[in-house]
Amino acid sequence: MTDTVLDIRDLSVFYGNAQAIDGISLSLARGEMLSLIGANGAGKSTLFKAICGMVAPRTGAITVKGRPLAGLRPAAITELGVAMVPEGRRLFRSLSVEENLVLGGYVKRPGPWTLDRVYSIFPILRERRHQPATALSGGQQQMVAIGRALMSNPDLLLLDELSLGLAPVVIKDIYALLPQILGEGLATILVEQDVTRALSVSDHFVCMLEGHVSLQGRSDAFTHQQISAAYFGT
């Protein structure tokens, strides 16, 4: 079925002898949003790094649109249609806002996202396009990071800690824009500390605990207690 964008089978990742991910499997189709929850150190960021090719799995396989990622370098994986909004935004500090966005489109995949389209969603970025990216406020920087990821016209978007370090009102604004951003049949994985918010915007969720999946299913299918137990391992 070509609708499957991401498929992960029995993935294990180690840092030296320390196991960060222990036999995870999941799959994601076009237009779906999956939220990935779990405490610090549960392996969420490692999973993102594995998908992007920044760490090599020890066992298991990741496929994107039917193409196995084994042995591919991060740049090649980006060309296949994977983009990430990294934790802490990590904008290029010596590049202007516009240069950050243009660099996001370095791989030139065809699709709806252009500089103009990003600016139409985040008009403030057009006003500030010649400023150094790091001169912007936290929320605006997050907009640049999201825009930068979209500029490659990805099929799979990884959002790591969207609300980290942002003021509540800014977080609300960004989440309000999410449906508009994700409307094009993108498959998305969202990592978010705010579990309630994550579950409220996603179709499915996966809860990770010490490197493995402790609970997964539809986002509205479990009680708060069940999710809490899976989250803390109690």
């Binding site: 090719g53 060309e79 010596s94």
Partner: protein
Amino acid sequence: MDWINVIIQGVLIGGLYALFAAGLSLIFGVMRLVNISHGDFIVGAAYVAFAVIQMTGLHPLVSLVIVVPLFALLGYALQLGLLNRVLGGDILPPLIVTFGLSIIVQNGLLTLFTADSRRLDAGAIEVESLNLMPGVDIGYMPLMTFVSAVAIIAGLQFLFYRTTMGRAFRATSDDGEIAQIMGLDNRKVFGWAMGLAMAVVAVAGVFLAIRANFDPFMGPSRLIFGFEAVIIGGLGNLWGTLAGGIILGVAQGIGAHIDPGWQLLAGHIAFLAILAVRPRGLFPRVD
């Protein structure tokens, strides 16, 4: 008049030192690599130009058409074949590898070309000069070297801040990991940077070889001049590097004017003095 002449000649040679420095500055900016063999490759370029001229009879300046692309390719290959494999957190491996390269290039040149000193003959242009005022003559060759240095630095500056490649350089330098997930292959980005640096090295080598005699072992001191220009000017600032080269050239000129034995010493002392009072150089990049 004497002193004006000393300073003007110092400024002009400063352009050559800035050329020695530009490649060093570029690769440090992009990949935090300090290439100990940089000076030896400058001398290597002089020898390659020498060989090309022997074979083809080209004018030294025309030989650049062959030597520059050759060195750009060499730089790219060196980066992908060797240097990328030792870049990482630890500074020792790249240092030792480029140190080893330095010894290999020196002794390779010695084996191929003997220890005899050589010179590239640029013909009449070498002796022609512009009479600025009584006692102050500006040689066409030093002037051309200086103008080329300014043009190359302006070009690098444009490339760094106005082109896709420059954007890739800056992004990779800022955050190599994230640059990779934007689709930039950092191995290749580093390869381009080294290729570009080696193209500048080739120009520097040919100008050096027209200006003065060269032998296989004069690379390390060219590295040191380039390094001093970089530190005097302030890390990461190309125009600062030009200023650093000029300061070094003028200091050497003044030293030599007082006593020929003090030429090099005066340059080093100027460098150490600036390091003592302005450890980040005269024009550090603000960020």
